[in-house]
């Protein structure tokens, strides 16, 4: 039976795009959100849309994801999410990093993306904001996009309402109700809502929600912090990421702010949206090392969000094992803005036709059947992202 009535939990970019796609296919769609649209990580990210990834599976879906973003304005009712080009610069400070990433060049070439490993001199020439800082050994540069996350979420929310999607804000889902091996309804703070198919797009809260249907999802929440400076005139066109000594990143927004963050390798796995002083000093200190020309900027705000990590740092998209009519659309591990829209679109097609797109093959929830509940906490970070690539 083709589902007619689809209930989606979470009005982030994943849930809203799924709603728009399902509505376009003629379904009745209800989206339930306990806060406001984009109140989770869709409103707490910097909108990096890049094709370059460290595994072939992720690279292939990221290519599709980037293409999807380039035509998303139609889905958003002609609204422009301020998508604009950038250069994604993965800057390397260790010879072992360069070796590891150099080994991925054939994969990048085979998939048709323009990611290349460059030497130190080219890196400093192409990413001049690094001049005067610690000398990198090289970088992987590739063309990429930045999207304004709020513009995308607001566009999707407004378009969803225009098209007759029933978006209910301030409604918290308490759990799924099953009968005969299939989910038949959600229990919410606003009563019971029945449907034919249910999509769990609650990101960091997806694990608890899946648990109410007896589904074990081995993901873990982890705080990620950011800080933002006052606006200045355009000084950089690149989105910089580095992994040594810790993972860090910075880029300039359309409004001219520099946003930056350096992760804490010992960040505990829990829900925590507080801002920490250690983050502020660590980020400033690492910028002092990598891009000292930015030190005259004034920071105006810190903020924090929560990543939902999976053991292999890849998303969970598809039908859960052991229960019918319930689908996962989460586990973004920091790539939600990039992967959620295309994944939502492919998942909706799967729900309606039963046919699974090959791009989604590596991301089935079933791959974690029997995996230890705390698996996401182990394996080194880099290795987690490159588990089937060049990582040893």
């Amino acid at each position: 039976m083709t589902p007619r009535r689809i209930v989606i939990v979470g009005a982030g970019i994943a849930g809203l795009v799924a709603a728009l796609e399902a509505r376009a296919a003629g379904c009745d769609v209800i989206v339930l959100e306990r806060g406001y649209p984009g109140g989770g990580n869709s409103g707490r990210n910097v909108g990096r849309i890049r094709r370059m990834q460290l595994t072939e599976e992720l690279t292939r879906i990221s290519i599709a994801a980037s293409d999807y973003w380039l035509r998303i304005d139609r889905l958003l009712g002609g609204r422009n999410p301020l998508l604009h080009p950038t250069t994604y610069a993965l800057v390397l400070y260790g010879d072992d990093e360069a070796e590891r990433l150099g080994a991925l060049e054939p994969m990048w070439r085979a998939t048709g993306i323009d990611a290349r490993l460059y030497d130190a001199a080219t890196t400093l020439d192409r990413v001049p904001v690094l001049q005067g800082g610690e000398r990198p050994v090289g970088s992987v540069l590739s063309s990429a996009l930045l999207v304004h996350p709020d513009a995308a979420v607001h566009g999707a929310y407004l378009a969803a309402r225009e098209r007759g999607v029933d978006v209910r804000l301030g409604v918290e889902v308490l759990g799924f109700e099953s009968a005969g091996g299939a989910v038949v309804a959600v229990e919410t703070t606003a009563g019971r809502i029945a449907g034919d198919a249910f999509v769990n797009a609650a990101d960091a809260h997806a694990r608890g929600l899946a648990g109410t249907a007896g589904v074990v999802v081995p993901t873990h929440p982890m705080r990620r912090e950011a800080l933002v400076t006052h606006s200045i005139r355009p000084i950089m066109d690149q989105a910089v990421t580095f992994y040594r000594p810790f993972e860090g990143w910075f880029n300039q927004t359309l409004r001219g702010e520099i946003v930056a963050g350096v992760t804490d390798p010992d960040e505990p796995a829990d829900y925590n949206h507080d801002s920490s002083l250690a983050f502020a000093t660590r980020t400033a200190a690492l910028l002092a090392r990598k891009a000292p020309s930015l030190l005259g900027l004034h920071a105006v705000r810190q903020w924090a969000g929560t990543y939902e990590y999976t053991p292999d740092r890849s998303p969970i998209v598809g039908a859960y094992t052991g229960v019918e009519a319930l689908y996962g659309l989460h586990g973004w591990s920091g790539r939600g803005m990039l992967l959620a829209p295309v994944s939502a679109s492919l998942l909706v097609r799967e729900i309606l036709t039963g046919a699974r797109d090959p791009l989604l093959a590596p991301f089935a929830p079933a791959r974690f059947d029997g995996v230890a509940d705390d698996a996401a906490l182990h394996a080194d970070y880099y290795g987690g992202y490159a588990s089937t690539g060049a990582a040893s």
Partner: protein, 415 residues
């Protein structure tokens, strides 16, 4: 932020000279002047050599850019909603990148300030019984005092009662048993047309300029403040400038082009060069970071007040005041958020488009997301939203309570 000046600030001199505009607004290129006088409001522009606010920079030390060649671009932009780009920009697709680069180049934002010389700040952990932030005259004996006059700034309250302070080359992590906040007040922006004109400023800023020795003798000043403050204002400013009006009633209009020329109070029109507003929004941001709840108060001109203040935190003086401010009729064309050029009518349009949550409206319009982070505008924005039927929930408190230079945070790291 720097220590208060013992000579007039760039903004003080500009006001005294009758040409108060030293900055321009981010989106519409409207001329702006220093409103706060202490580096909080972000309206006066910055010194390109240091990145510091011009109200914290001595006159003569920084050039003042008087003309804004891009002002003409702001005029058509005035008729657009803050999310004008959503439907009007960026077609065809191939032009997107270049178009946006041009657009970014048109903003009135300053350039990259040079990185300051000198080594990284030293990090020091200090444990004290009582930490006092603000007016030292209100401090208890024995308290560690964070005083702007001594060049110290508390920019955040973090977990475990840790207050972060930058002070002359050091980053102090102060663990305290008790936190006393005598942090004074910001301006509560009244929603009247002309409220962003250069020359409209917080009464505290005018007093500060006077204290810096700015020659305000020729300046015609209109003061608007609650009646109980009139005597003190006249005593403090009567012989320093020309007080042409001291009243409690908020003007119906503030008129001028490029700067304040007159105010209209009922049938009366008063010609003036500056409008000093003694309308206080208590400076409670550190209390909110420490766990107090912000709530929109009541009265004709509500401010955001701290509720459920944790028992280890105490607000003192004007930071604790619950003054009843005079009211006025909100005007659609007035600015609610000057940092991001958001007018009351823009908030109205956001609500009319179906957005009913403060966070959504904040992100949609940009209101409260500029350099002041809501300190000057939050009362005006939330009141306007309340009147539109939106629950006036204050924004999530986050550091930095005062803008903080990255160099002052970049402590030597053990990595």
């Amino acid at each position: 932020m720097r220590a208060p000046l013992d000579s007039p600030a760039v903004t003080a001199r500009a006001l005294a000279d009758g040409r108060p505009a030293t900055g321009r607004s981010f989106r519409l290129h409207r001329p702006r002047s220093g409103v706060c006088g202490n580096g909080t409001c972000g309206q006066c522009g910055t010194d390109p050599a240091t990145g510091d606010a011009l109200c914290c920079t001595p006159a003569g030390a920084a050039p003042v850019r008087r003309r804004d060649p891009l002002r003409a671009l702001g005029l058509p932009a005035e008729r657009q909603l803050p999310w004008f780009w959503e439907r009007r920009l960026l077609r065809p697709r191939a032009l997107r990148g270049r178009y946006l680069r041009v657009l970014r180049g048109l903003s009135a934002a300053p350039g990259l300030p040079p990185a300051p010389a000198g080594g990284p700040p030293q990090r020091r952990v200090v444990e004290v019984e009582t930490l006092h932030v603000g007016d030292p005259a209100r401090a208890d004996p024995g308290a560690l005092v964070v005083d702007a006059a001594a060049g110290a700034t508390a920019f955040g309250v973090y977990a475990d009662r840790t207050v972060a302070v930058t002070a002359s080359g050091e980053l102090l992590e102060v663990r305290c048993e008790r936190l006393v906040l005598a942090t004074g007040a910001h301006l509560r922006l009244p929603p009247v047309v002309g409220n962003d004109l250069p020359g409209v400023l917080h009464l505290d800023a005018l007093l500060r300029y006077s204290g810096q020795g700015a020659d305000l003798g020729a300046l015609r000043v209109a003061v608007i403040a609650p009646p109980e403050r009139h005597a003190a204002v006249t005593a403090a400013l009567g012989d320093r400038c020309r007080l042409v009006h001291v009243g409690a009633r908020i003007p119906d209009r503030i008129d001028g082009r490029g700067r304040v020329r007159r105010i209209a109070v009922g049938a009366e029109a008063v010609a003036c060069d500056a409008v000093a507003l003694g309308l206080d929004q208590p400076a409670i941001e550190l209390a909110l970071l420490a766990g107090a709840h912000g709530v929109l108060g009541d009265g004709p001109l509500p401010v955001v007040v701290a509720d459920a203040v944790p028992d280890w935190v105490e607000l003192r003086g004007r930071a604790a005041a619950r003054e009843r401010l005079p009211g006025c009729t909100a005007q659609r064309d007035a600015f609610a958020c000057p940092c991001e050029d958001v007018r009351l009518r823009d908030l109205e349009a956001a609500v009319a488009s179906g957005l009913r949550d403060v966070e959504l409206i904040k992100r949609r319009t940009g209101a409260m997301t500029g350099p002041c982070q809501g300190k000057v505008c939050q009362g005006a924005v939330l009141t306007a939203l309340r009147d539109l039927g939106v629950e006036p929930r204050p924004m999530t408190p986050r550091p930095f309570a005062r803008v903080t230079r990255l160099a002052d945070l970049a402590v030597a790291h053990d990595a």
